[in-house]
Symmetry: D2
Subunit: 161 residues, 4 copies
């Protein structure tokens, strides 16, 4: 795999707790230090382009994400994104040719004990090296075609449509 | 993906600490409860066939692993294994047809904070769904052809031969 | 030490993350399972009397806490409480005689990796067995007389007045 | 409390896993970084004087520990020590006057998820500030007079004699 481009956009995966404001805020992206800690054997570059809860990601934001990926030379891209509108963003990226793009995130912040963040990142990393070009989603341990998946908000999980 | 067959053979990933004997032992396989915790969206079955440090896995043991996989109906198999002789076992499995088999393990026990276990399992899970049939290795965040990888014991990591 | 009475009132220590509402909530008290996990050698009983962020703990709430403790037979009491008004509650309890009461909490939820929750609970548990009767605070690894401590909100820590 | 002297002697608390040697070894003391992470409000100094499994701590070693503490100006001392001969070492220190000395350790390494290390350190920290001079043990959430406690090796816990 060529150098992996990692685009971070916010989401629960990067939420941290600020006692000050008695609230959770999106902090700096965790994925870089997680991959360093795991001593991965591939090169990567992290581009942190926004810190948004994905309920607030707009179509204009999606264009920013689209442009950042489309203009890059990278052939392999991992995008961390909030889970609520991850499918929508994936569908927006689907027209970008010659790149394998995998979106993932987490249902619990990476800073939480027992978070799914590290597992999902691992999943996405394994898949991005082996999938054909196109936009894909890695959540709940499954690799999804974004046309065939939705987030079930009640059950707080991704499932086939 | 059809029901994922998970074969566990021991290795560092499942090492736990017994203060009693002031020593480590390979405990029961961690992967099942990790996948439950991550609420994965696929069915799986764990077959715990041995608990060996892979320095002590013999060719007879490899035959046992080979048979357990070859006679199964599963088309997708994840094997957890010690890292020291993982490549050797992978090469032994390479002749099994029509199954995608991914071997992984960990350089630090799953019970450790900051272990690579969950990340590696995620990696293997992502890859097993997307790889073509054959035997593969998922370590250090990379997917390897077992003919082209070795464990560098000094650096304690997997790298291309 | 006689049976330790543990009174839980909420606070950051028990905050958990609900992705559902993209928000945090105070969940069920963590202290009981933490002490079970640590296999403590003393008997204890947990009375969960409210789940409040301590910015919202009222004087009426303080009376409820006061009554629950004063009418109990327990000679040793540990109270988990939000950090913002912990001092105020401690001062309210100071007139209760013949009981050693230690208040503690956490600046990061117990569910967080690297939380101070377990350390603070340990601190309070060690202190409650050895302090004379009265109301005390255990935060930042120090045992405080509530008349001589305040929470520095800017620095997010407790310090001497 | 004056500046806390922390003397580290090894033990399970500081055991880490070396995949290289397929074994657990005592690594550098964890207590300093744990206390930093907990942002404790007191000054402390760590003196790492040995790295021994306490089954191998000899009477000569105990003299070394005794001397290090007796010649120090510190009035408050926390000693981390293996659990197997912790009581014996505590009894050796009992004749040192005018110092409150609390010994603790862990039944699982600090590097383990779910270790008792942080809780026990908290316990010892809370107790050392409030106990009268003498040698004490903090294990299983209890503060023990070393003359009245032993480690039950079968049950892997400390209990009254």
């Amino acid at each position: 795999m060529n150098k992996l481009l990692i685009v971070t956009t916010g989401g629960t995966i990067d939420k941290i707790y600020f006692d000050d404001m008695s609230d959770y805020q999106i902090g700096e992206p965790q994925i870089g230090q997680i991959l360093e800690q795991m001593q991965v054997g591939f090169d990567f570059e992290v581009k942190a382009i926004m810190r948004k809860d994905s309920l607030h990601v707009t179509d204009a934001d999606r264009q920013v994400i689209h442009t950042a990926i489309a203009k890059s030379d990278a052939t392999h891209v991992l995008i961390t994104h909030g889970t609520d509108s991850m499918v929508k963003t994936a569908l927006t990226l689907a027209d970008i040719k010659h790149k394998t793009m995998v979106l993932t995130g987490a249902l619990n912040p990476a800073k939480f004990r027992d978070s799914d963040a590290v597992f999902n990142i691992g999943c996405a990393v394994g898949a991005v090296q082996t999938l054909p070009p196109g936009a894909w989603i890695a959540m709940n341990g499954c690799i999804w075609n974004p046309k065939k998946v939705k987030k079930n908000r009640k059950k707080n999980r991704f499932e086939a449509t």
